[in-house]
């Protein structure tokens, strides 16, 4: 993006696991999160110029799930769009809408309920109705096929995956002690080689972020700000048979876009921390490689660098391997990095974060890939 203005994240509220106690409806929770986000940013609803939301009709049990969210998020009499392809795509479009010069602020939101009788069945509806739907091809199965492919291409990946899972779960227990247990108890295989306990059960979650242009931020004296200095997104095809699952070419492409904009030439040393969308630890390994953080030949020797006390911690939040609000896990990764850069992430804050890397992935076996570079001081590229 040859941004004509710098764009900053000025507010972000993450609810990675909401208790299903029936006290509040999703509409009420979204409205509550809107006001928490505005308070975080130091703004009011009058400052909302546009809104981009993302939700999944099958998980929500509605057709056109944006409709319900319009009023709770301030959409009435405003310009509100939705990107149901992925939660993180709401962030991409929100940033683009400010970069276009048409808006100075954008609210971005995604949510993921767990009221569907079976999320796996809802996911199977995305399979081709003629050839694949009768297969038990939910997203966990796709992730397992990807894990098998990686284990075949990089023998020993499973052992590293176990290490990553333990580290991530410990990070999650530190970041969200009331929600995550540090222990990893693996049970029987569910989708080989994935066992019970590896991929956390889906939970209800939501995330709301506020973006603003540089002139708006300066005019209103907002801060702290996480500036978007690079953003990339790309997709692979849907059919798993058309893909090389032990690689992530769309993530390669997205990273090239983001790094090019941010002026990152050596991603291995460029960031203070990263958040990776890792439904399985195998995806974590694939992302490390495609993001240019560590090639597969380096995984075994360099994983310690990405631990909580390492040079560049990855997933201080615990990642998806700790908390799995399915549809909004990608946007949560971006919000986690934004709040690290803003110094407002909470218990798992790393001191002095100047530049962070967020990776978001959605769809079967990481079909959609998004990379965002966020900085305490943004880089402006020529108009």
């Amino acid at each position: 993006m040859t941004a004509r203005t710098r764009i900053g994240v000025v507010g972000a509220v993450i609810k990675p696991c909401i208790a299903e106690d029936g006290r509040l409806s999703l509409e009420e929770r979204l409205h509550q999160a809107l006001h928490e986000t505005l308070a975080d940013a130091g703004l009011t609803t009058k400052d909302l110029e546009g809104i981009v939301v993302a939700a999944n009709d099958q998980y929500d049990g509605r057709a056109i799930s944006i409709m319900m969210a319009s009023a709770p998020l301030g959409g009435v009499d405003r310009d509100i769009l939705s990107t149901p392809s992925a939660g993180e795509h709401a962030f991409v479009l929100g940033a683009l809408r400010i970069a276009s010069g048409q808006f100075r602020t954008q609210l971005v939101a995604a949510w993921s309920p767990t009221e569907a009788s079976s999320i796996a069945e809802a996911q199977r509806l995305a399979a081709d109705p003629y050839f694949h739907r009768r297969l038990p091809l939910d997203e966990l199965a796709a992730a397992a096929l990807q894990a098998n492919a990686l284990e075949h291409a990089a023998p020993g990946a499973g052992e590293l995956a176990a290490t990553l899972l333990a580290t991530g779960r410990a990070n999650g227990a530190h970041a969200y002690p009331d929600l995550v247990a540090a222990d990893v108890v693996q049970g029987r295989p569910t989708r080989w080689p994935l066992r019970e306990g590896v991929v956390p059960a889906p939970v209800t979650g939501l995330v709301v972020m506020m973006l603003a242009s540089e002139d708006f931020i300066e005019e209103r004296g907002l801060g702290p700000v996480a500036w978007i200095s690079g953003m990339g997104w790309a997709t692979e095809p849907a059919f798993l048979g058309d893909r090389a699952l032990a690689s992530a070419p769309a993530l390669d492409a997205a990273a090239r876009q983001a790094y090019g904009e941010a002026g990152v030439t050596d991603p291995g040393t460029a960031f203070d921390l990263a958040e990776i969308t890792d439904v399985t630890p195998y995806q974590h390994l694939l992302a490390l490689e495609a993001l240019g953080l560590a090639g597969r030949a380096e995984w075994r020797d360099r994983l310690a660098e990405f631990g909580p006390t390492g040079r560049m911690p990855v997933n201080l939040s615990g990642g998806v391997g700790s908390l799995n609000p399915v549809y909004c896990t990608g946007l949560i990764r971006i919000a986690e990095v934004a709040n690290q850069v803003r110094g407002r992430v909470g218990r798992h804050q790393k001191e002095g974060v100047r530049r962070g890397l967020a990776h978001a992935a959605s769809g079967p076996a990481m079909q959609y890939q998004t990379v965002v570079v966020l900085e305490a001081t943004g880089r402006r590229t020529a108009a």
Binding site: S70, L81, S85, H89, R97, G101, T235
Partner: protein
Amino acid sequence: MSARVGIIGIGQSNFQARRDDASYPDLVREAVALAMKDAGLGFDEIEAVVYSLSPDAMVGIGNAERLGVDAVGARNKRFLRINTGGATGISSVAAAWTHVAAGACDVVLTAGADKVGECGDSQTVLNKIWDPIYERSLPLGTINMLAMSAVRYMHKYGMTEEDMARVVVKNRRHAARNPHAHLRKETTIDEVMASRMISWPVKLFDCCPQSSGGGAMILASERWIKARGLNAVWITGLAHSSESYYLGDRMGRHVVADHADAHALAASFRKSYAMAGITDPARQIHAAELYAPFSNTEFHSIEAAGLAGLGQSPAMLREGAFALGTNAGAVVNASGGTLCTNAIAVTAMARVAEAALQVRGDAGERQVKGARIAVASGNGGDHQFFGTMVLEA
């Protein structure tokens, strides 16, 4: 505001009730191929794709955009999907505009398709847009939702069922000249009045068909267009605005939006006109492609677009306004409009495409003579999301 963004490629299927010969991705590809041919481009020149798809349930595939990735040539490229219900098509063009205006890309494709004619019953699907606890069991559908708007409009402005039939007659006459339209048979007021009652006062002929087909458009930056010496239609104004979700919020003493009118559509048009520098739309606009799936909704759309005062459009239509050949103001839905073709995911894109063809002078037998400025609109949700656009040669 940044440099201009132009439309350089347009592709539309010849919409039909069924397309048994083509799968859902096939339909998307059909429209993409037409747009690529129109623009004279290859896939290597497409930098990003905005996928236009309204409710998944209409095609019976969850996140069906995933199956369309190869159909639009998006592998390893920027890709995202838009869904604002019936407004999705114009929202997708707007999102493609945003990609270019933001400087992210020079050339963006937006495309989609729908198989409404093969979904079983679109009203059963569309009932699921409403709140599952309070409204879904009523049973609401988009027909009775907008029949209530017709009743309210009749009450406020004196519209008759014959006035509604007059819209159908006009649009069918227009659609007969449009090879892409689904319903191309001309009709009469008597035939409309004699057609089966669906939800009073909306009769069968007052309703749009359930159509199958695809749509695609290619947008590019002014710099890229000029460097290649291409012709383009320029998007000079665009906006969206929304109403409330619950229909009950559009009734009562303290209502913001009256269900007779199209409050948020008017707000969106005002924003688009301000951006485009349009100060007197009734005089400045030559062609309008307004999303009106039921005959009565064309009236409040015309008024929201500023082409007539509130409640005045039925009388103007009686006097011959808004029809091809009129010498008094804009022609409305020279394509036949949504009333004659409704493949929901791309219907509002077709409004933009048809408006663009008008100002490009490529609308064939449905061409509005001398059209230089055209507008398009899209409505989605429960008459909730509205997108508008101004296009100029």
